[in-house]
């Protein structure tokens, strides 16, 4: 039993978060909630990346008056920093589009905003 359960729980948490994000994107019709779904998906990837770079007993990779111990991996942190900014940018743009759609159709339902189909 212990053999089966020994594994990488933090990563599982990140992947479950990804599942939640995909769930929202699939089942929620509200456009604002779709934006939230994308934000959650992005956070899950960030969490996954940061978790990958952890070292047991690690400290932040900054030498200024650093305590003893191994440093956690810096590259993933840079990647996450990049991805956070990208997520912010994406959210801002989608929200502005949502506002425009709401002005035009008066609704936030993704079922109602389908002028184009077939």
């Amino acid at each position: 039993m212990a053999e089966i359960l020994s594994g990488n729980f933090p990563l599982v948490a990140a992947i479950v978060l990804m599942g939640i994000g995909l769930y929202i994107l699939i089942f929620r019709r509200n456009l604002i909630k779709i934006v939230m779904g994308i934000a959650i998906l992005s956070s899950s990837v960030n969490l996954f990346l940061v978790t990958l770079g952890y070292r047991t007993g690690g400290i932040a990779p900054i030498y200024t008056e650093a305590p003893e111990g191994p440093m956690v991996l810096p590259v993933v942190q840079a990647l996450v920093l990049t991805n956070i900014v990208i997520a912010v940018a994406t959210s801002a743009l989608i929200l502005s589009l949502v506002i425009r759609i709401y002005r035009h159709t008066g609704s936030l339902d993704s079922k109602k905003s389908r002028r184009m189909k077939g």
């Binding site: 030498y63 200024t64 506002i99």
Partner: protein, 151 residues
């Protein structure tokens, strides 16, 4: 918002600015950097927008001016990268020179702000850019949902 909120926001903005600038300038020595500091200042601007309303803020903070600041900061950033093209694009040409050129002792040290080569310059550029950009985006969203259209 009520007068209390407005006054407190007004006073707090100074501290937000100082803290944001600290985070930007010390980006290469302590945790933080251009993005984080710029986001701190931009969140201060958001606080002002919430407290005073977007119409009031618009009088002193035009999004046209903000986008000029943003473009210039982005230009500064890419130009610093371009200067390195004497050797290679993005080459850190200031390490070992007289400007921000000190090399910190290997291992744990108390920190020296006169280090990092082009990193502090880029931090400042990115900080300005993020500050102006995020404020402009939030201001545009706020103004538009308040019924005004952006020029």
């Amino acid at each position: 918002m009520s007068k209390i909120v407005r006054t407190v926001a007004n006073q707090l903005m100074l501290f937000v600015l100082v803290f944001g600038l600290y985070v930007i300038v010390h980006g290469h020595v302590t945790p933080g950097g251009g993005f984080q500091g710029g986001a701190v200042i931009a969140s201060g601007v958001v606080m002002l927008i919430v407290a005073f309303g977007s119409g009031q803020i618009k009088k002193s903070l035009r999004e046209r001016r903000l986008s000029v600041v943003e473009s210039s900061a982005a230009l500064l950033f890419i130009l610093v990268a371009f200067i390195g093209i004497g050797t290679v694009f993005f080459y850190n040409f200031l390490v070992g020179s007289r400007i921000f050129g000190d090399i910190p002792p290997t291992g744990t040290n108390p920190g020296n702000i006169w280090t990092g080569g082009v990193i502090p310059l880029m931090n400042v550029a990115v900080g300005l850019k993020v500050m102006a950009g995020l404020s402009a985006a939030v201001l545009a969203l706020a103004l538009f949902s308040g019924g005004e259209e952006i020029e």
